[in-house]
């Protein structure tokens, strides 16, 4: 699957997996800490709120330790992904993050129009006419299906207010 020789490098699978495992273990530690705060012993009404999650947290940390050990033992030099591939992934994650972040202020419709247009224009290199047709068409169809037929309200911003939708 490796085509371009320039993009054949990337983080190794071993390294990234170890990182993920450590993050999971950290999550386990947070769960344990939170459970201790809620109380893990027996109260008047039986086991207290932190009782069950405390052991869950222990399980997370313990299984992560095994996973870390197993992960570090095998060394096949496999890449997690090439840098070029990760760039592709980030080219979706970053705009989506902006889209999601803008939604409370602009409403869903306006944000969607810009998001779809950006995606099609920059990643798909489509002519502007196609871009506009899809970017405007999809939110309009969504409006009718969700708000009109199924009566599910979606987030709106100043533009929708101005249009009185």
């Amino acid at each position: 699957m490796t085509t371009g020789s320039s993009s054949n490098t990337g983080p190794t699978h071993k390294l990234v997996e170890a990182g993920i495992t450590l993050l999971i273990a950290l999550f386990g530690v947070i769960v344990i800490a939170g459970s201790l705060k809620a109380g893990i012993n027996w109260g008047a009404e039986g086991p207290r709120a932190g009782f069950f999650p405390f052991y869950i947290g222990i399980f997370i940390v313990a299984s992560s330790a095994v996973n870390l050990w197993n992960g570090l033992r095998e060394d096949d030099g496999r890449l997690f992904a090439e840098w070029g591939q990760l760039r592709q992934v980030m080219s979706v994650v970053i705009p989506t993050a902006i889209y999601v972040g803008a939604m409370p202020f602009t409403g869903l419709y306006v944000a969607s129009i810009f998001f779809i247009a950006w995606f099609m224009r920059w990643l798909g290199k489509y002519p502007w006419l196609t871009v506009l047709a899809v970017a405007l068409g999809m939110p309009i169809v969504t409006y009718f299906i969700f708000e009109r037929w199924f009566m599910v309200p979606l987030p709106k911003g100043p533009v929708e207010e101005w249009l009185d939708l």
Binding site: G39, W42, P47, I60
Partner: protein, 499 residues
């Protein structure tokens, strides 16, 4: 036969014009979901769940379950025509389906796949009809300890049967349990694990997790691979269909075996994906033309498709009768029941007869409708696949956002969805299974409640889980499932030593 009467009542419910319409809409949407990358059964149903809030629960579950059947059918289309499994359970279908299509036998392969799917589903539905009421009436006697034992068995089967490393399965599952525990504790009413964040008061909704983990995560994986669709044309006409149907009965043993594998794997929450691989593997070993498998053998399409569909359908049996879903999609359906105000589990068969039997009847009808829809509309669905990913991807992302928002009308949930998406991508790449994580979020509160109530009854002694024959046998089954791969390894080593 009280069940038969109930089933006929169910058919009367399912055959109402509105429900028939809902069924067709569900199937078409489902096939679309199955065909499109990034939209799977579980998150497709999750996204569309809010649309059903205004419907009656029976119509709602008919629509959502039909989306599920449609997705099961749809996965085969992409596997055969494009060598791209639309769903994980159709990976095994590509082994022989795609070579058949390359030989110009796409029509035969598709017909065989759809027909096998139908047979598998029908077998599983008949089993549900016969077995589910019995299981439910049996389960009515369960106390908290037995309930916990059933959850224990379900989660242990995941560890023992999944192809991912067992400790990764355990880690994924426990993350799910931890996420389920966040927020208000249902027994003491105390807040926990919120760390003062008001957004976390109500905990994590599993629908958001499903949409993020499966939907966004899948899109990111697809982006990384830089998918381009290249595929043969779908020509399917009546002559090809009839000709293939004449051929298929010869493979009845394979069919029956795959049905049984599927049902077994579906009821224990191993799910459709391992069922299809296992069925394919066994068929390859047993079949006369086993050496030709992988080069375009029709039997190699029949085996995985039958098993996948049987498993997908059978996954609803424990969901309906015990309240323990057998697959992520069944888990989403179970979440739907809770939202519509129904309590899944054995009481459903007593209190909500119309709902349960309407659903079961709709499974028969939905699969017939599904078979007709896919056989007649394959070219249309194949054409949709030719729409480039750079158009499909943003539309799916927007749909995911809409789905995530409309669960609680909260934009914070949309942010969470993206976070879950990135987590899903990383976990999937690092070989962590996502299904147990989602199931644990769904069942976490119930499992914990059963566990704590049992301990209350026994004053904290774990002996309660081995206090009578019923509960101890379920627990022992669970332990066997938990150590299944170790037991298997030991057995092979033992045999190797004696031979």
């Amino acid at each position: 036969m009280e069940e038969l009467v109930n089933l006929f009542h169910g058919f009367a419910v399912a055959l109402q014009p509105f429900n028939i319409m809902v069924m067709v809409v569900g199937i078409v949407l489902g096939v679309l979901i199955g065909v499109l990358p990034g939209l799977g059964g579980a998150n497709g149903v999750a996204i569309l769940l809010p649309l059903t809030f205004s419907m009656s629960p029976t119509s709602a579950i008919i629509m959502l379950s039909c989306i599920y059947w449609g997705a099961l059918f749809g996965g085969a289309i992409t596997s055969i025509l494009f060598n791209i499994p639309g769903e994980p359970w159709s990976v095994a279908t590509t082994f022989d389906g795609y070579p058949m299509a390359q030989k110009g036998k796409a029509g035969e392969a598709l017909t065989a796949a759809f027909t096998s799917s139908f047979v598998g589903a029908l077998f599983a539905v008949v089993m549900i009809t016969l077995v589910a009421p019995l299981v439910a009436s049996f389960a009515l006697q369960f106390g908290p300890a037995e309930k916990f034992a059933v959850y224990f068995l379900a989660f242990c089967s995941f560890v023992g049967l999944s192809k991912e490393p067992p400790f990764k399965t355990i880690a994924a599952m426990m993350i799910g349990f931890a996420l389920a525990a966040v927020g208000l504790d249902s027994i003491t009413g105390q807040l926990r694990l919120t760390f003062g964040m008001t957004h976390l008061l109500n905990g994590f909704d599993f629908l958001i997790a499903v949409i993020g983990l499966f939907g966004i995560g899948e899109i990111l994986l697809t982006m990384e691979e830089g998918l381009a669709f290249r595929g043969g044309n779908a020509k399917i006409n009546l002559r090809v269909v009839l000709q293939t149907w004449k051929e298929l009965p010869a493979y009845w043993i394979t069919s029956l075996r795959s049905c049984l594998i599927g049902c077994w794997m579906g009821v224990t929450p191993a799910g459709a994906t391992p069922a299809s691989f296992m069925s394919y593997g066994i068929a390859k070993r047993v079949a006369k033309k086993g050496n030709n498998f992988g080069k375009g053998e029709i039997e190699g399409v029949v085996a995985p498709e039958t098993a996948a569909h049987a498993a997908g359908t059978a996954a609803l049996l424990p969901m309906l009768s015990l309240g323990v879903p057998g697959s992520p999609t069944a888990a989403v359906l179970l979440g739907g029941l809770l939202i519509w105000g129904l309590q899944p589990g054995p009481m459903l068969f007593v209190e909500q007869k119309e709902f349960v039997w309407g659903l079961i009847a709709s499974m028969y009808l939905g699969n017939i409708v599904g078979l007709l829809v896919v056989l007649t509309c394959v070219p249309v669905f194949a054409a949709i696949l030719r729409v480039p990913f750079s158009i499909i991807a943003p539309l799916i992302l927007v749909l995911c956002a809409i789905g995530a928002y409309s669960v609680h009308s909260s934009t914070f949930d949309v942010v969470l969805m993206l976070v879950f998406g990135v987590i899903g991508y990383l976990l999937k790449k690092a070989n962590y299974p996502l299904a147990p994580l989602v199931l644990a979020i769904v069942l976490g509160d119930k499992a914990e409640e059963a566990f704590r109530q049992s301990l209350l009854g026994s004053q904290g002694s774990l002996g309660i889980f081995f206090s009578n024959t019923l509960v101890s046998s379920i627990m022992v089954l669970g332990l066997i499932a938990l150590f299944w791969s170790a037991i298997q390894q030991g057995y092979t080593r033992l045999r190797g030593a004696t031979a």
